[in-house]
């Protein structure tokens, strides 16, 4: 509430300083704005930025450090017998004080010195709030005044404003990059912790996956085996089935849409195909579990095959359907981007449309198509919801698509669902699996991007 008010005040100050900056520029120009280095509006932005940015930086800084400073001041004001307590007890007392301040606790119920400390805390907070308000307004006004006093005909307001915007853009992109780096590092460190209790080679090459660890000695059924090979095999099996469905169907429909279909049909059917990509994966999941899997099972019975109710086949097929729009949309764009001159060249030699497509267009588009397929594979490997619902949890080491298998993503979900302690290998295994998943997808994406880049160079 208070923060919001402050931000609003700051915004009002900035709007006002924009107006004054612009006015000042008009005055300085003495009626002829061509005398100015930049348009009057830029002087307005220049003033507004000088008003807003320093104040905003202080504001952020204040928000982060306020609580720590006040707490330290309160502790310093506490009697000797409390400050000499151990660190944990001191923390409890500070929490108590904060609770009283925020009104979660009634002050009468505690010792008088703590109630006094709470009052002290409250006083300090009020002082801090007022101080912040004063500082912000003062800084804003100072900045604006400084900018106003520096507005003259030679002032390069436009360059300065544009440079500031550039810095702002850089900061935004850095935030995205640092977030990625942060996630990767946290996964990496937790995975390293996992590898301290389970050897790296056991994890990568072990054939048995049974992540239950014994909480008490002699517990039954809690061997704690962390061999991830069954998961890798399961993931690959399901991805393979998915790609066997998605690649032919997606590619063929892409060829039809980009080469044969009339432009009207293309404009109509491409969005429809892309709706497939808009269906939430959880919907695909229960479609797989409740309709496709029983359907396969029924057919299996008729043919005398024993198909598990949760089979790799059902999950893979449905995942393949989910990925079709990926493959078709990406390939369609790539095929469409093959220059018409190549098609003309083939036609002019007497090639039929089918020969042109098979021998000229597809080879020319192949790198792009491969890249699209690789992106689809990384999507399949990372897909979770369908396999959770339709592929099962049993870590069978099998390549039989009729049995139930489990995947890396499914295991991550099951490892982390429910109450977990965060230092057991069972939980940490999720990070190791996540790391493997991340590395594999990263490699696939890098290859895909490399291929696409090479392809682009060819037609510049």
């Amino acid at each position: 509430m208070h923060t919001l008010t402050l931000v609003l005040i700051l915004l009002l100050l900035m709007i006002a300083s924009f107006y004054f900056g612009r006015q000042r520029a008009l005055v300085v120009s003495s009626g002829n704005i061509r005398m100015l280095n930049s348009l009057p509006g830029y002087y307005g932005y220049y003033t507004a930025l000088w008003c807003g940015i320093p104040a905003f930086i202080i504001f952020i800084f204040w928000q982060f450090s306020e609580s720590a400073i006040i707490t330290n001041l309160v502790i310093a004001g506490l009697p000797e017998d409390i400050t000499s307590l151990s660190r944990q007890q001191l923390n409890l007392i500070i929490n108590e004080i904060r609770n009283i301040v925020s009104g979660n606790m009634v002050a009468d119920m505690t010792r008088p010195e703590i109630a006094a400390a709470a009052d002290h805390y409250r006083d300090l907070q009020t002082i801090s709030d007022i101080a912040l308000l004063v500082v912000i307004i003062a800084l804003g006004l100072t900045g604006a005044t400084y900018a106003l006093s520096h507005i003259d005909q030679q002032q390069r307001a436009r360059n300065k404003v544009e440079n500031t915007i550039l810095v702002f853009l850089i900061v935004c992109s850095t935030i995205a990059i640092f977030t990625t780096v942060g996630i990767v590092l946290s996964v990496l460190f937790e995975a390293i912790r996992f590898f301290q209790s389970v050897p790296f080679t056991d994890f990568l090459f072990g054939l048995e996956w049974s992540p239950q660890t014994a909480i008490r000695p002699g517990q039954v059924g809690a061997s704690g085996a962390f061999g991830a090979v069954p998961l890798f095999v399961g993931t690959m099996l399901i991805s393979l089935i998915a790609m066997m469905v998605a690649v032919p169907i997606g590619l063929m429909s892409a060829i039809y849409l980009s080469e044969y279909a009339s432009s009207r049909l293309r404009a109509l059917s491409k969005p429809v195909l892309e709706i497939l990509a808009g269906i939430p994966t959880v919907v695909y999941g229960f479609f797989a579990a409740l309709m496709v899997a029983p359907f396969f099972q029924g057919w299996g019975e008729l043919l005398g095959l024993d198909i598990s109710s949760e089979s790799a086949l059902a999950a893979g097929v449905v995942m393949g359907i989910m990925i079709i729009p990926f493959v078709s949309s990406l390939s369609d764009d790539v095929i469409y981007a093959v220059p018409q001159s190549l098609r003309d060249g083939a036609y002019s030699l007497g090639a039929t449309q089918s020969e042109t497509i098979r021998k000229v267009v597809i080879p020319a588009a192949l790198p792009g198509i491969v890249a699209g397929i690789l992106l689809a594979v990384s999507r399949a490997i990372g897909e979770t919801m369908i396999v959770v619902m339709a592929a099962g949890l049993a870590a069978n080491l099998t390549t039989n698509p009729l049995e139930s298998v489990t995947t890396v993503t499914v295991q991550i979900v099951t490892l982390l669902v429910g109450d977990q302690e965060f230092d057991s290998p069972k939980t940490l295994a999720a990070f190791a699996l996540g790391l493997v998943l991340f590395v594999v997808t990263l490699i696939l994406n890098v290859i895909a991007l490399y291929v696409v880049k090479k392809y682009r160079e060819q037609y510049e």
Partner: protein, 299 residues
């Protein structure tokens, strides 16, 4: 040296240019006798022994007419140049001759285009052998993203012209030799066609066209993306090729038309304005529009 040969001098002979131009202008002062308003073709549009015989060809893009009532013969072993300002329909006419306009959805062609006694727009005509008979070279070199060898072998393969590898090799080598490319690329037949220079790529495209043994070669501004040296090579090549093929060339360069062609046709806004021998068109144009164009009086 005739007047035409003087106009046809390559533009790098700068010291002669000034004199030529003066002469050029003087020649055209008041030759034209047909007024600008006349849109019927003047000059001899027909020849005694035509390879392709076009009568009243009209082309529409949607409802918009792009070409009106064009009657023109393409003779045997001749190079005929199509000139005219942009959008005048010369490329459209060229693309009628091997039905490349089929690839444009809204395009409609009427009239008759006869080759070997058959109308190419007839329903019974298969476009595949037709295009093998009438090859085409485009404005921008468009080698396939395959090796040099595969670029040439593409046509013979799809038409089954070679029964084994030896014959195919022979076709590739002959085509490359005829286009003068053999010496330049014989060591890198397995490298991508796109790795050649622009002029080499264009000659590769001509070699690719020759490889399917056509009777007519259509060239749509084949040199407009090339430098003068590569242009000279292509023009020399055309000169050699016309002993075996009829060549129809669309060009924006009047010097080029004057240098290489035997006959010239001038198009203007969808009408065929004037046809005649190249010498006559460039020295004694009959139609006022033709004279305006070749003397550079158009804006």
């Amino acid at each position: 040296m005739t007047d035409i040969a003087k106009i046809a001098q390559p533009s790098n002979q700068i010291e002669r240019r000034k004199g030529d131009r003066r002469k050029h202008t003087r020649i055209h002062l008041s030759r034209a006798t047909v007024s600008r308003d006349n849109r019927r073709t003047v000059g001899e549009a027909t020849v005694s022994d035509p390879r392709i015989h076009c009568t009243d060809v009209n082309v529409f893009y949607g409802d918009k007419p792009a070409l009106r009532n064009v009657t023109l013969d393409i003779g045997c072993q001749e190079i005929i140049a199509m000139i005219g300002p942009s959008g005048c329909g010369k490329s459209t006419f060229l693309r009628c001759l091997n039905r490349m306009n089929d690839t444009i959805e809204c395009c409609r062609v009427t009239g008759s285009i006869m080759i070997d006694g058959q109308d190419i727009n007839d329903k019974s005509i298969d476009v595949v052998p037709l295009r093998a008979k009438i090859g085409m070279v485009f404005q921008k070199p468009n080698p396939f993203p395959k090796s040099v060898y595969e670029n040439i072998a593409f046509g013979p393969r799809i038409h089954g012209l070679a029964k084994d590898k030896v014959e195919l090799d022979e076709i590739v080598v002959t085509s490359l030799k005829r286009t003068g490319l053999w010496e330049e690329v014989k060591d890198r037949l397995d490298q991508p066609g796109t790795s050649l220079s622009g002029g080499q790529q264009q000659r590769l495209c001509i070699a690719r066209t020759i490889a399917v043994n056509p009777e007519v070669i259509l060239m749509d501004e084949p040199c407009s993306a090339l430098d003068p040296i590569a242009t000279t090579k292509i023009e020399e090549l055309m000169d050699q090729l016309c002993t075996d093929y009829s060549i129809v060339i669309v060009t924006h360069s009047m010097q080029q038309a004057a240098r290489v062609s035997h006959r010239t046709a001038y198009f203007h806004l969808g009408d065929l304005i004037e046809v005649g021998t190249t010498e006559q068109i460039f020295t004694k144009p009959v139609h006022q529009l033709t004279e305006d164009y070749i003397t550079g009086r158009f804006g």
